[in-house]
Structure formats: structure tokens, C-alpha cells
Amino acid sequence: MILTESLSKRFPRVTALDRLSMEIGPGVTGLVGANGAGKSTLIKILLGLSPATEGRAAVLGLDVATEGGAIRERVGYMPEHDCLPPDVSATEFVVHMARMSGLPPAAARERTADTLRHVGLYEERYRPMGGYSTGMKQRVKLAQALVHDPELVFLDEPTNGLDPVGRDDMLGLIRRVHTDFGISVLVTSHLLGELERTCDHVVVIDGGALLRSSSTTDFTQTTTTLAVEVTDTDAHPDGTGALREALAARGITAETGDGLPGAGHVLLFTAEGEETYDLVRDLVTDLGLGLVRMEQRRHHIAEVFRAEGTAETAAPAAADAVRPGPGTGPKEVAGHGG
């Protein structure tokens, strides 16, 4: 889908991209980097809007330097910032944008209705966009990027400004863009954690250079970490501590997830297999505690980078650590009980 060969972009004062070579295939690809890592510059070059200082790049097999127009006809772009005029309805706006992409009037209207429905905008699409919530605006922005049925979309920080629920909705929608619509996605974020559950492949850039490019399964499949949260009881005022001691007695070292939200109330430890789940269940019952949750937590991509000890990843890793919420694939083993 996308191919770059020692792509560089230098401005008088900064080097935005530094000999970046990578290849991105079909599917959902995350482009991760701290603010100023060169993500937006890369998108601009890939859309054929900004010439590279050196190196070359191709999108959908088309050279960005010479065939920008043909690329932009088959690619969609959702900018990071707000871009919607408030006094126009979503329908009018998206129809106009569809025509700007070359769709005939009737097709533009039909595709607009379809696309807005797919992104989850119904009756409100006839109202002026000034009154929309951030989540609705993000949906319109996504719709205008998809309305001409591109083969590939660039989504620049699509979860920016959304609350956790809106964020999950948007990530789910992005996933569907590929699985249901068959459109490949390049999505940028400065949060590694949210990309691991959405993307098939993650590319990390920092300072305009490629840090790592691999599939998300490589990142996260190595081990399973269990997160367990328990209640306190009269017998055990510090239920978490009691469970931790009990686990230690069985030879399992549990961490309290320093730096993560809920630190001190959550125990993290490596699950060896099915028997670890049983052990936790038995220990909790023996102690008479209430099991609030026990879930599988795949390694955050951030932790993988942290483990590699690369200094450059410190910034994105830190950003990720602040993000609330558990890891992917929550597998609630038990509700309240014990």
C-alpha cells in the first residue's frame, strides 16, 4: 500500500523525516510517535502535497512526487484538527466534499447517506454541525474521508479529544473500516496502547526515523499477564496485600502496577496456564475476599519498548502509561463473588 525509501524532509531548522524506509501492507496500520515525531509531515508527503527533500515514496503503487492527484483520488484523509463549518449540515457538507472528490451529484448524495449511516449518524445529519458533540464531529470527519470509497484512508489522531467511551467507539469504527468496508487504514496516534487493539501492524517513528515496524501480534503475544482486583474485608483490611502475600507463598511474584491508574488495588502477575486461574480463585475464596475482576492483560506495546530500554521511546511510553483503562481483550472471569 505504502512504500518509502530513505525518505527525508528537512525544514530550515528541523529535520522532520530522516531517511525513513518502510513498507506498509493492507490492513490497519498504526503510525505511532510523540508529537512532532514527523507523523503529519509523512502524511503530507504521502498525499503528494509536500515534496520530500530526498528519497522517494509510493502510495498504491503511484509515485507521490508525480502522481499526487491520482493518489488523492483514491485515498481519504481525516485531519487531526477541527475542519467543519458550523452553519452547514453534515449531509450538505459531505455531499460537497464527495463532489470535490469527483463523484457525480446523484452518486455524491447516495454515498453521503450511506457513509453517514455507516459511521453512525442518523437524524442529526440534517442539523447544522455547530451543535454536534465532539464524537459526532469526529464521525463526520471520518465520513468525509470515506465518502468517495477510497482504497486507503489516512486518519490523523482520530481519537483526539474524545472521552474513553467515544475513543472506544472510534477505534471500533476504525477497525470496521477495514474489516467491513475493505478499506486499508493508516492511523496515527501518540498513544501506543490504543493502537495495539485496533491495528494489525504498528510503525513507530521518532525524530523522523523508523524505530520499529512489526505486527501487533509480535508485540503482544509473548506472555499473558493477569490483572486481579479484590475487595477488602474486616478480616483483611488490605485485601490486595493479603492476596499478594498468599500468592508469594505459592511462588508467584505479583506487582502492583506502579504508575498505572488503580495502582495499589490491582495485582499484576504472569499466568503460567489454566492452573493459575484456579489458584487465584481458591486463594481468594480461602481469604474470604470479593473478586472484583480478573482479566487477561496483553502486554502493552509500550512495555515492549520499555523492556528494550530504548531511550527514544521514553516519551511515547510515558504518554501511554498515563492512559486509563485496562489492556485489551478483557476476559472477565468473575464478577462479585468469592
Partner: protein
């Protein structure tokens, strides 16, 4: 099951949920929407030229508030009425009183009503470009096949066409009236056609100035004020200095001074080339050389405005 589906998909859902069970069944059957899934588009993609044309049409309609809110229609339509009404009255009077010539020359009409044109430009030029800048819609255009030149060209052409409609229609009303009043056909047609050339140049010149000023600021209010200032202050200054020059016996300087404001540029140009009566003090007209300078300045300003706009939007990319 049926009720659950209506709740998700049909407007009848919320109402249906409140009803008793037997009522839900048939309602649910009627209002069920089948999700047909995502459909790919394999129709034609009409490309750059079509997109440019669409943008032109949308902007031209927008200049008169069409396709925008009712409130946006008020001012341009009002100004349009104010522009045409005097022409209609003039024609009515001329026809009923059997005048042998129209009281206002075709080429003078726009000059006389320049305040209306200035108001129209000041209100609609910022509307055409400032809003896209202010709400950062511009990157959405440039992430599509159209390029900077297409955007600028479409906007420029749209605003110039809107001004041309505004100025050419009253001239046409005058012409039709003159023919109805059985004035000399050849004479009137010549005046009319020269009048159209004059307002066409005026439209191009004013649209360029208005767009350059408006594109410099994302703030619409500033744009409005700046356009009005740019059209009125130089005109006031030029007229005053011309009057002083005329009174103090420097009549030769009068036509040259006209080069420094938009409306006097058109005035001087058309008195030099289009046979229009001059409105300068003492009815001073530019010499042949002076007229050539006027023409160069007008064309230069138009080309310059286009160039500045293209440069401006090259920077305003993503």
C-alpha cells in the same frame, strides 16, 4: 426480538417499546431496517475539472446565499434588489416620458452605485474564503484531486461572476428599457456592450482585491471592514486630491491621480477606451498614454491578486 430490532433501527422503536406486547409485533415488522452492509462505489470519478466546476457553482450560489441559511440570503438579495431597482425606475421614467436618451449612461451606472457594489463585495468576499480558513476546511479540499490553482481559480471566478451578475443585470435592464423606449438601436447596443466590458473589468478587479484582503485573515469581521476601507478610503483620498489639483490649476495631474483607487481606475480606463463620460473633476480624461497605463495597472492588479492568492494557498495546505 422484533421490538428489540425496532429499538435499534427504526424511528418507531421508542414508541413501540412503550406499547403492549401485541402491538409491537406488526410495528416491528413494518419498521425493520435491513442493514445492507457497505457497498463499494464503482461509478465514474470525474476528476479535477469537475471538482473545480462544482466548487465554482457552489461558491457562486453561496455569494447570493443560495444553499446557505435563510439569514445569509438577506443581505446579498437586498443589495441585488437595491442595485436593480434604480435601473428599473430609470427605464420606467424614460419610457413613460419618451426621453430620447437614458438619463444614466450604461458605463456610469456601476460607478454611481459603487457603494452597493462595495457592500456586496465586503460581505461576500470574506464569506467565500475566510470561512474555509477559519474553520480549517481548506486542507480537506487539498487532500482531494484539486490543487491550489483550482481552488483559487474557482473562488475567483465565482466571486467575479457574482459581481458581474450584480452589475450587468441592471445594465441589461437599462438596455431592454431603452429598446422598449425605441431609442436608437445601434447607439444603444454599442453603449450596452461597452458597458458590459466595463462591469466585467470592474468585477474582476474588485473580486481580486476583495479575495486577497479576505484571504489574509480568517476573521470574517476584519475582512468585511478591510474590504470596505480599501474601497472607500482611497476613493475619498483620490477624489479630494483630484479636486484640489483641479482647483489649484494642476488639471494635468487629475487623470494620473485616478490610478490610486479601484473605482477611479475603472472610471479612468473606461473614459479612455470605452467612450464613457469621465466623472473626474473637470471631466478630465486620461491621454492615450495615460489610458495605456490605466489598462496595464488594471490588468496588473488582477493578475497580481491571482498570484498572491495562489501563493497564499500554497502555504495554507494541510
Amino acid at each position: 426480538m422484533a421490538a428489540e430490532q425496532t429499538g435499534q433501527s427504526g424511528p418507531g422503536g421508542p414508541g413501540g417499546a412503550l406499547r403492549t406486547a401485541p402491538a409491537q409485533g406488526p410495528r416491528g415488522e413494518q419498521s425493520r431496517i435491513h442493514n445492507i452492509g457497505y457497498r463499494h462505489y464503482d461509478g465514474p470519478r470525474l476528476g479535477r475539472a469537475y471538482a473545480r466546476r462544482s466548487l465554482f457553482v457552489q461558491s457562486l450560489r453561496g455569494a447570493y446565499g443560495l444553499g446557505r441559511s435563510a439569514r445569509s440570503k438577506v443581505l446579498p438579495m437586498l443589495l441585488f434588489g437595491v442595485m436593480v431597482l434604480p435601473a428599473a425606475i430609470i427605464v420606467a421614467v424614460a419610457v413613460t416620458t419618451d426621453m430620447n436618451k437614458l438619463p444614466v449612461d450604461y458605463r456610469r451606472y456601476a460607478i454611481v452605485l459603487q457603494a452597493v457594489i462595495a457592500l456586496f463585495l465586503a460581505s461576500q468576499a470574506p464569506q467565500a474564503v475566510s470561512l474555509d480558513l477559519r474553520f480549517k476546511t481548506v486542507p480537506l479540499y487539498f487532500s482531494r484531486p484539486i490543487e491550489h490553482r483550482d481552488y483559487v481559480g474557482a473562488k475567483y471566478a465565482a466571486l467575479a461572476s457574482a459581481l458581474f451578475l450584480l452589475t450587468a443585470l441592471p445594465v441589461t435592464v437599462l438596455y431592454v428599457g431603452a429598446l422598449l423606449g425605441k431609442l436608437d438601436f445601434a447607439d444603444q447596443t454599442k453603449g450596452f456592450l461597452l458597458g458590459l466590458v466595463s462591469v466585467a473589468l470592474l468585477s474582476l478587479l474588485f473580486a481580486g482585491i476583495g479575495l486577497v484582503v479576505s484571504a489574509a485573515t480568517p476573521r470574517r469581521g476584519f475582512g468585511v471592514a478591510a474590504v470596505i476601507a480599501l474601497l472607500t478610503i482611497p476613493f475619498g483620498a483620490v477624489s479630494t486630491v483630484q479636486a484640489i489639483a483641479h482647483e489649484s490649476g494642476n488639471a494635468d495631474a487629475v487623470p494620473w491621480l485616478g490610478l490610486f483607487s479601484p473605482i477611479t481606475l475603472i472610471d479612468g480606463l473606461q473614459s479612455a477606451f470605452l467612450g464613457a463620460p469621465s466623472a473626474f473633476p473637470g471631466a478630465a480624461e486620461p491621454s492615450a498614454a495615460g489610458g495605456a497605463v490605466y489598462l496595464l495597472v488594471v490588468l496588473g492588479v488582477i493578475a497580481g491578486c491571482y498570484g498572491i492568492l495562489v501563493r497564499r494557498y500554497r502555504k495554507a495546505g494541510l
